[in-house]
């Protein structure tokens, strides 16, 4: 199966071609075509590898392909090697499949942009790095991909580097790009330390070895494994925008919309979920970490959901929605529902990519207007965009039998079963906010009165390169959930949970470490499922009631609850708090205490003091000597005298 290593290679080739020759090609279709073909080639290869894996016995579906030895010194050794198994191939299919659609979409969206080749070069670079992240057979190569996608994200957020961007304490797109990179670096610091600890414990960074030996090497519930997993989780919180590192994702919307869809919704931000799934054995060994993951996940889901209610920028609503959905995934992992978490990664990739691309289509048709307060009634101008966006909204809201319904209810169920009723309750409220803010966006954008200036704006439907990907994603958002139909429904219909079965070997060891909650709970599960569905529908109905006829009802409510509204609109003032208590003091300390006092006054004061003494004597010497250089000769002479004396005196003795 050595050909599998071609999967990450194709985007790399695409990147090199477009980066070096893109400007000379001068043909948008050709550039976009090359870049898209590279991703398509990876996708086709990934399908072949997938088929290859299904043909193997279930307990032998992990193939490692060594490419070369990357770093090796002393006892440390790490290869560039790829691991193709149930988990990595699933992520690969999502990345290359959705990646291909978004590449095609971008040909239309980026049409006419001066940076067209640059954009596609960055996109291919991103896919290359993302594939390294998920296909790596060891932590260090994943880390390469991990920081590599961070680089691609940085480049793409700041793609329009000379544009202003209205963000929190931010003026330029470049500021947003930098914020994303730096916040992620804080998380990466955790991953770095976790790798050191893992290498100390296991003598290797290979996933296969660590997962196999973890139960023997580490003590379940011990400090070491808790520390390792918490540090890893810090990295996950950075990459997947969880509390307390979630502040970068909303500002990342400064990038072009296809980027938001691919990187900041469907793929990169799910890296944290991937890493925990990949190292599920370690996480399962630490109840403390699992509790932290659950707590952070569910809190993020709720808080981001509430912020989403008040935002005016269509992409920001979707960004907070993403943060919230990622929180759901972490909550699932935290309660040990690994499959449910990964399942939600997949369905979310479908409907959130769809929603973002739909938003992109709206922005494209509205000539870069992003404020939903200045939209309305667009359904008649953009019928395809509207219909697909509508499907996406229903899917994310958890309307029965669409993809989001299955995955979200799977998560909520396990939150109840393995967690607590309270956990389920918070999740259900968060799900309610999801339905509410999504319907709000749908209403304000596509329904109701037209609130834009007809003389200057002529909304239009997007070209086929953009609408076809929307349609494909809409189909996936509808039927994608069938891959993981929960037992409670599937049992009656004789429909198996395909995904759970497929991923079972990956999570077997991890699951065996967790307490199993057996027994028959069919009736409870059905009741809870009904309850959460009713909540979602209530959310939709409420939003419909408030926003169906424009903004009046909404502004009335906002005026009545000014405090709450301002709090939500300003995202709980998290950025301001970070600025005041972390960034500000560090800057002040560095400038006023370290540089201006320690360096300039203390150290240089001492040095200059002694220099002045030497300088004075040098001035005296200059009267007999001709230049500064001779001082050196003099001092040298003195040195030689000392030298000779030191050699000769002991000899005489």
């Amino acid at each position: 199966m050595n050909y599998a290593a071609l999967i990450p290679l194709f985007p790399l080739i695409g990147f090199v071609i477009v980066a070096f020759f893109g400007k000379r090609l001068k043909n948008e279709k050709l550039i976009g075509g090359i870049a898209s073909t590279a991703i398509l080639a990876s996708f086709v290869t990934a399908v072949m590898v997938f088929v290859g894996l299904t043909n193997r016995p279930e307990d032998d579906r992990s193939v490692i392909v060594h490419v070369y030895s990357w770093i090796a010194t002393g006892s440390f050794s790490v290869d560039v090697a790829y691991q193709f198994d149930q988990l990595s191939i699933l992520f690969t299919l999502i990345i290359t499949g959705i990646g291909f659609l978004i590449h095609v979409y971008s040909i239309g969206y980026m049409h006419g942009d001066a940076g067209f080749p640059r954009f596609f070069a960055y996109l291919n670079l991103f896919v290359f790095m993302m594939l390294n992240l998920v296909l790596a057979s060891n932590f260090l190569l994943t880390f390469l991909g991990w920081e590599g996608v961070g680089l691609a994200s940085y480049l793409l957020i700041g793609f329009w580097y000379d544009r202003k961007f209205e963000g929190t304490r931010i003026t330029w797109t470049g500021d947003a790009a930098m914020k994303a990179f730096v916040v992620n670096r804080i998380g990466d610091f955790g991953v770095l330390l976790a790798m050191f600890m893992l290498f100390n414990q296991f003598g290797t960074l290979d996933y296969a070895t660590i997962n196999a030996q973890a139960p023997g090497v580490l003590t379940a519930g011990g400090t070491a494994v808790t520390l390792i997993t918490l540090l890893l989780f810090l990295g996950c919180a950075g990459k997947s925008a969880q509390i307390p590192l979630g502040v970068w994702l909303p500002d990342a919307m400064a990038g072009p919309t296809p980027v938001s869809a691919l990187i900041h919704a469907a793929t990169m931000v799910t890296s944290g979920i991937f890493l925990i799934a990949r190292t599920n054995v370690l996480f399962a060994m630490s109840p403390t970490t699992m509790a932290v993951v659950t707590g952070v996940g569910i809190t993020t889901a709720l808080i981001a959901g509430t912020i989403g209610i008040a935002q005016r920028d269509i992409k920001k609503v979707l960004a907070y929605s993403t943060v919230s959905q990622l929180g759901f995934m972490f909550a699932a992992l935290g309660v040990g529902a690994f499959t449910a978490g990964v399942f939600h990664v997949m369905t979310h990739a479908f409907f959130k990519a769809l929603l973002f691309l739909g938003a992109g289509s709206v922005i494209h048709g509205m000539h870069h207007e992003q404020d939903i307060m200045k939209m309305g009634g667009l359904r008649k101008y953009m019928p395809i965009t509207y219909r697909t966006f509508f499907i996406g909204t229903l899917a994310i809201s958890g309307i029965p039998f669409l993809s989001g319904f299955f995955s979200k209810d799977e998560i909520l169920w396990f939150a109840f079963l393995n967690g607590s009723p309270v956990l389920w309750g918070i999740g259900a409220v968060a799900a309610f906010t999801t339905a509410f803010y999504m319907w709000r966006v749908l209403s304000l954008t596509f329904n109701g009165t037209e609130r834009f200036d007809h003389h200057h704006l002529h909304p239009h439907e997007s070209p086929a390169t953009m609408t076809i990907p929307l349609i494909v994603l809409a189909v996936l958002s509808v039927f994608g959930g069938l891959l993981g139909v929960p037992h409670v429904i599937g049992h009656a219909l004789h429909f198996p949970n395909l995904l759970e079965h497929w991923l079972e070997p990956v999570f077997a060891t991890g699951m065996s470490m967790l307490t199993a909650h057996g027994g028959d709970h069919t009736s409870t599960e059905v009741i809870l499922m009904t309850a959460s569905t009713v909540l979602a529908i209530l959310g939709i109905l409420l939003a419909r009631r408030i926003y169906a006829n424009g903004l009046e009802t909404a502004s009335g409510i906002a005026a009545r609850f000014t405090g709450v509204y301002q709090l939500l609109l300003n995202k709980y003032y998290v950025d301001e708090v970070y600025q005041m208590f972390i960034a500000g003091p560090i800057l002040a300390l560095s400038r006023d205490a370290m540089w201006k006092i320690v360096d300039v006054i203390v150290i240089d004061g001492a040095v200059n003091g002694s220099a002045r003494i030497v300088g004075a004597s040098a001035t005296a010497l200059r009267k007999i000597q001709s230049g500064v250089a001779q001082n050196y000769a003099l001092i040298m002479m003195a040195g030689i005298v000392v030298l000779v004396a030191m050699v000769v005196i002991p000899m005489l003795r």
Partner: protein, 503 residues
């Protein structure tokens, strides 16, 4: 073959300096071309060392041993092991680039400038090759003179102050070293092999020197090296020297001169005084860690780009020192490759600053903004240098930083994770100060009227930067091609130290 290549690498620059003396000072073009040809030829010659070098052994290769001052048993003793080979290659690579970057900015006393540059190269290569303490000292001091003049004559506004500071700092250190060299020779005499400057002999008797003396010798050598590195708090000469030096001077200073210090620490302190190295590892590592954080924080608040890069060196070299005094193979190997990396990426950063300075004659960050609009090719290469310094995996800096931190993390000599944990925060700050600088200089709109029509890279500038960019990616992707060269030498040093740890 190897011996000839070694001698040629050492002496061709000196011969070149002499040739230049015979060229008429008005023949500016001839002087420049000759100097450039000499350095390129030296680089190509030094590449011949590679096929001749046997990476499977730690012993010195291409050794030449000729008598010099017989009464002191000082000789012309030169040779190379993996570590010094890498340093020599770094030097011979940087020099032609430094020559290229001097062609336009250096306008006065051209002949003297290029003569001094070639003598400087002779001295630097000599330090890395010397296997004799007296010879080492001569080369060490030889470097000081041309560098002093390069800063003092061709430097910026406050060049005299900076040159003097550089001079005094370094001189203070080297006087201590001279005393230590003599003391060491005497110790050899006490040990019964007679007074000697032969490094190979001294290596044998070094560990036998009693601890109370070894400590002082360690500190005397150490101090002169720490100043060169520079280790906190001995670093304040560096920002001034960098800011005042012409671009080529800064490049050489960062790429090679600072490495003389870290190289000396490995060659002398670790190899000669293993017990004292163990003894002082903790204290030195504390200073290294402070340097990493302090350098990064102070770099963050600079308003002058060159000063920012200079302080970043303090931070980056902290990683090198930490790696060395982790006294583990991973740490020291990481330090060695980080020395090469820092030479390449910081050298490249200084070249980039030079590109901007040549156009605007200012280094104030606030004078720039939106430069990408007018200089897109420059933006790409500047970004590569920046991300290399940030330590992005896949580029060179990551390999060194990762290994030095790993070494410090698991070092039995440091015995604590704290060093690595605190240092790793430096990785976060590196992203802050470098990206922030890049953001302010390159991104945004190009509003300053003086920047509206800046030309993109000239061919000359382009070809200074491209080779370094290629190396940055190459070392990031395939670091073993270089690290294998020094693997055995480093293992030998570390196992020697470990041997004394057990006792």
């Amino acid at each position: 073959m190897g011996v000839i290549a070694l001698l040629a690498t050492l002496f061709v620059p000196l011969a070149g300096a002499m040739i230049l003396l015979f060229i008429d000072r008005n023949q500016e073009k001839a002087i420049k071309v000759t100097a450039l040809v000499i350095t390129v030829a030296t680089f190509l010659t030094s590449l011949l060392l590679l096929p001749a070098f046997d990476a499977s052994t730690a012993s010195m290769q291409f050794v030449i041993d000729m008598p010099w001052i017989t009464s002191l048993d000082a000789g012309f003793r030169v040779g190379l092991d993996g570590t010094s080979l890498l340093m020599v290659l770094l030097t011979t690579l940087i020099m032609p680039i430094a020559m290229l970057t001097s062609l336009n900015p250096i306008k006065k006393s051209i002949k003297e400038y290029y003569v001094l540059m070639l003598i400087l190269q002779f001295g630097m290569v000599g330090v890395f090759m010397a296997l004799d303490t007296f010879l080492f000292y001569v080369f060490w001091e030889l470097i000081l003179i041309p560098m002093y003049f390069i800063i003092g004559i061709w430097g910026g506004k406050d060049r005299i102050y900076a040159a003097m500071k550089f001079f005094l700092y370094t001189l203070a250190g080297s006087l201590l070293m001279l005393i230590a060299i003599i003391w060491l020779g005497l110790a050899a005499k006490t040990a019964g092999i007679g007074f000697t400057a032969d490094l190979m002999k001294l290596r044998m008797i070094g560990p036998a020197i009693p601890m109370d003396i070894q400590k002082w010798l360690f500190l005397a050598f150490g101090l002169s090296f720490f100043i060169k590195v520079p280790l906190f708090p001995l670093h304040t000469w560096l920002p001034d020297a960098h800011v005042q030096a012409p671009t080529a001077g800064s490049v050489i200073l960062a790429a090679v001169l600072l490495k003389l210090g870290t190289y000396g620490l490995i060659r002398f302190n670790l190899e000669l005084f293993p017990q004292a190295s163990i003894e002082f590892a903790g204290a030195i590592s504390v200073l290294a860690v402070i340097g990493i954080i302090y350098g990064a924080l102070v770099a963050m608040v600079q308003t002058d780009i060159k000063k920012l890069v200079a302080y970043s060196s303090v931070s980056h070299l902290g990683f090198v020192v930490l790696g060395i005094f982790s006294l583990t193979v991973e740490g020291v190997q990481g330090a060695v490759i980080q020395m090469v990396n820092h030479g390449i990426s910081t050298g490249m950063l200084f070249l980039c600053v030079g590109v901007l300075y040549e156009r605007r004659h200012t280094r104030e960050i606030s004078e720039y903004g939106g430069i990408t609009n007018v200089m897109p090719r420059f933006a790409v290469l500047f970004a590569i240098a920046m991300f290399a310094s940030v330590g992005l995996p896949g580029l060179n800096g990551f390999v060194g930083e990762f290994l030095t931190l790993l070494g410090a993390f698991r070092s039995p000599f440091l015995g604590s994770w704290t060093y690595a944990v605190i240092s790793a925060t430096g990785v976060i700050f590196a992203a802050v100060y470098l990206l922030w600088m890049y953001q302010r200089v390159m991104f945004g709109t190009n509003d300053n009227p003086k920047n509206k029509h800046l030309p993109d890279l000239t061919k000359n500038e382009y070809w200074q930067l491209v080779p370094l960019a290629i190396l940055i990616i190459w070392i990031g992707v395939a670091p073993r091609t270089l690290m294998n060269l020094s693997e055995q030498s480093v293992r030998a040093v570390v196992s020697k130290v470990e041997h004394f740890h057990a006792h």
